[in-house]
Symmetry: C2
Subunit: 564 residues, 2 copies
Amino acid sequence: MAYTIGVDYGSNSVRSIVVRCCDGVELGVSVYAYPSGEAGILLDKNDHNLARQHPGDYLEGIRRTVREAVLLATKADQSFSADRVVGIGVDSTGSSPIPVDANNMALALKPEWRGNWDAECWLWKDHTSFKEAARITALCAEHRPEYIAKCGNQYSSEWFWAKIWHCLNVAPEVFDNAYSWVEFCDWIPSVLSGVRDPHAVKRGICAAGHKALYSNDWGGLPDEEFLAMLDPKLAALRGRLYDQAYDASEPAGFLSGEWSDALGLPMGIPIAIGAFDVHYGSIGSGIEEGVFVKVIGTSTCDCGVVKSDTNLADIPGVCGVVDGSILPGYFGIEAGQSAVGDIFAWFVKSVCRGDDALHAELTEEANRMKPGESGLLALDWNNGNRTVLVDPLLTGALIGQTLHTSQAEIYRALIEATAFGARMIMERIESHGVPIERLVCTGGIAEKNPMLMQIYADVCGREIRISQSEQTCALGSAIVAAVLASSEKGGFDDFEGAQAAMSHLKEKAYAPIPENQEIYESLFSLYRKIHDSFGGVEVSDLGRVMKDLLSLKEKVRMNSLELV
Amino acid sequence: MAYTIGVDYGSNSVRSIVVRCCDGVELGVSVYAYPSGEAGILLDKNDHNLARQHPGDYLEGIRRTVREAVLLATKADQSFSADRVVGIGVDSTGSSPIPVDANNMALALKPEWRGNWDAECWLWKDHTSFKEAARITALCAEHRPEYIAKCGNQYSSEWFWAKIWHCLNVAPEVFDNAYSWVEFCDWIPSVLSGVRDPHAVKRGICAAGHKALYSNDWGGLPDEEFLAMLDPKLAALRGRLYDQAYDASEPAGFLSGEWSDALGLPMGIPIAIGAFDVHYGSIGSGIEEGVFVKVIGTSTCDCGVVKSDTNLADIPGVCGVVDGSILPGYFGIEAGQSAVGDIFAWFVKSVCRGDDALHAELTEEANRMKPGESGLLALDWNNGNRTVLVDPLLTGALIGQTLHTSQAEIYRALIEATAFGARMIMERIESHGVPIERLVCTGGIAEKNPMLMQIYADVCGREIRISQSEQTCALGSAIVAAVLASSEKGGFDDFEGAQAAMSHLKEKAYAPIPENQEIYESLFSLYRKIHDSFGGVEVSDLGRVMKDLLSLKEKVRMNSLELV
């Protein structure tokens, strides 16, 4: 029997699982909530764009969770023992770059930088660099259109270069003292492997290709001439970053003695190349051509794959199309919505001042409603729009309130808005040559909210299945580790085999309900109208939007009455 | 010493006051909450458009409140006694038509109609007849454009003919048994005068001109040919309505023996012609040329006057321009917003599930905010738009929410939305030749919410004063009664003199704050954009609305930081 460990760094906590390679059974799960800041995030109440994290939490987290997961596995499976662990895979949020010194030490771990938040990890959801992102977009459009053609023609404030440039602009002392910058998902494997030199950190193609404008088409990272247009110091940094990025067929390194002791695992076992949570999560959800994986949590990340030899056009507004970023030999396509669960949580907590009990109550009430009967329509942009408009400066909207509109109606309208947003993404991707036959969803909300899943099926018009694992990201990391370990050590020789054995779906399938689909077609056409109007895509006539919503409302209510 | 009594029928209660003619001092105030339905209104949870009221509540209400007000006045002023009351004035909500039999008895008071809500008073806010209203608008546009040119080119579902026609369509048995229909404000004076014949009911020009398409220009009510296009039964009804309507220079009648006994007042004293609450309220607020009176409560009613010899163009989208409807010798101009306080109440009660304490808390919090700092913008159409779009099929909108938007920010945005709506109305009226030099506000919200008044002053760019009386409608009715009584009986010979003596303003003046005005100019231009887009006025580019809100937010927050 062979086992691998998957370590998944989320936005608020890290979890580690021990997985049995032969069947994917998860024997031990351990979660550690980052102790710093608010729910693990350093937030500034005067600047809502700021979000940082403390790398020390990451190291303490992996130490504790791997040890505990191993302990639990030992209790759960008599054939398990720590020396049967044949590999570790790590995924994390991103783009979350960490400034490091010449020894690959995170600046934030050094006493002299304590309390300086610009020296911490710049969490994915930090949007302080929106001006830099806009400038990068403009410069690319003028000088290097190819750079952003594959990432939606918009560079995001969530991404690598914008964040580093913003650091240079607002905290030059941090920038000047950072020998290099390493993505969170690359940094953890490098630390586990005992890498003390930033040049030796093996970077994953996932973060590099999707967030750092890396491509073999132009020889790696953006060229110095281009970076010098941003700032000569960024051009100078290029040489201290990396020339080559790797897909999941290559290990990031092997477990060092120090970390073998810390984790209680065999020294020298392979450590998978780091990738973003969702990319490995899609592997844990059984991604293949024709399957679109949605990880639905506070925000949504969507992944698709299509064979590398496909003649794929650039997909406007889609965050990235990168060869090998998910499965080796396939283009990985990443898209997403900047806020999903976060919107519902905002509504319940900030607007209704409610708690989990109210979530449950509103879900139950909203579940009894029919599509269209509230007359409401919302835009899901409370945290900007990541795909397909790629615009952090968009905000939410709610249309159609009357004096009788209830909390639960608004709650449902917000859920529907996220479903419409999801459909916009799917339509864009599919129209550019990526087949989507069915959806596999995973993540906290997909697990726990059947109402939401049914709405998504009705709005998107496709069957939806849910991953069996509650930890698909960690599971995906464990699967990658199992492939790296190879069949010789009890792992697998390819991803197909590893996924077939280790990733599973729940039996329940959400099929679209035809009468709901029909109403949602009408609502979606109205959604598209306000989406395109407020999104600046086109000037359209909104003069009938409210009336159309009211007609639909009346129609639905009349039908309901007839059925009674 | 002479005294008059003003009786004001609101949406949920009736209040009567005894007023001393020489100085307008209010000696006794008595309020009676209508006992029927929810807060006095018969509501149907399956049809949010329906709102009816029981006329029996009106009669019981006037009996109780006049007697109590007289009792209180006796205690308050030694020179007062009931026989010194020289007149009564009555105002009510409207258009609220009541079906009556051939004896001027409300059908709803007859046992055989008990429980039939279509036989009750059709309260102003009943919108069940929206389809009939749209049809009347269309027919007028085609055949009698002059009919609706003076009421905004749109006939409203709140008005006389739409309601009666709807009754004919949905409850023909009620229609067929109604000998005539009498406006609430006309019916009460007719009852007090002992009028037993609907033909003898003296109708006020206010309700007739603003809501029933009555004008001397075309010989009174709409002609039979036109009414027959609606329904031949409406053409037949015309002869059982009225040929002549009167302004406030004419009494509706004189107190009958029966009602002299019931109220304990001298028989034969004059009863003023009935008018809508706000019209008499504007008299109670000292309306004159250049003064725009806003009664701010659950909804808003706005009144302006301009001399009858002014060459006044029709004002598109304004509910009515009627000669003599407020002050004899002046055009009365009526406008309004379908929901103001109702929107705040909806938000606090239905969305936040809060109470008066939350209102107070949000007011305090919102008061600390600066214009523009929330990045929010709302449309005040939760109950449709009465002026200037005259469209009940419009609904609310909230734009600009982020994950950090708070309850108080939304609360303030809703208040601002009503202020922008108020400004739209003023701009429309002023641009058509009605001067507006300053605002006088009255009504519950104007009294109690200094934050709101300051926002209105800042948004509208004009000084605002508040009526001293808390009962301006009842006071206005008492003023009209004092003019009817004439100086001979201790009253007045003209409105100017009566208003000068009897109506007063509070000392506090709300002056626009220049820096707020500047921000609100920007916000108002964005409001106008979404107003015109969703209102179907013009197709405009909304692609920058959210970004402009965010820029404004950033600017305001930066300025605030600089000031710290």
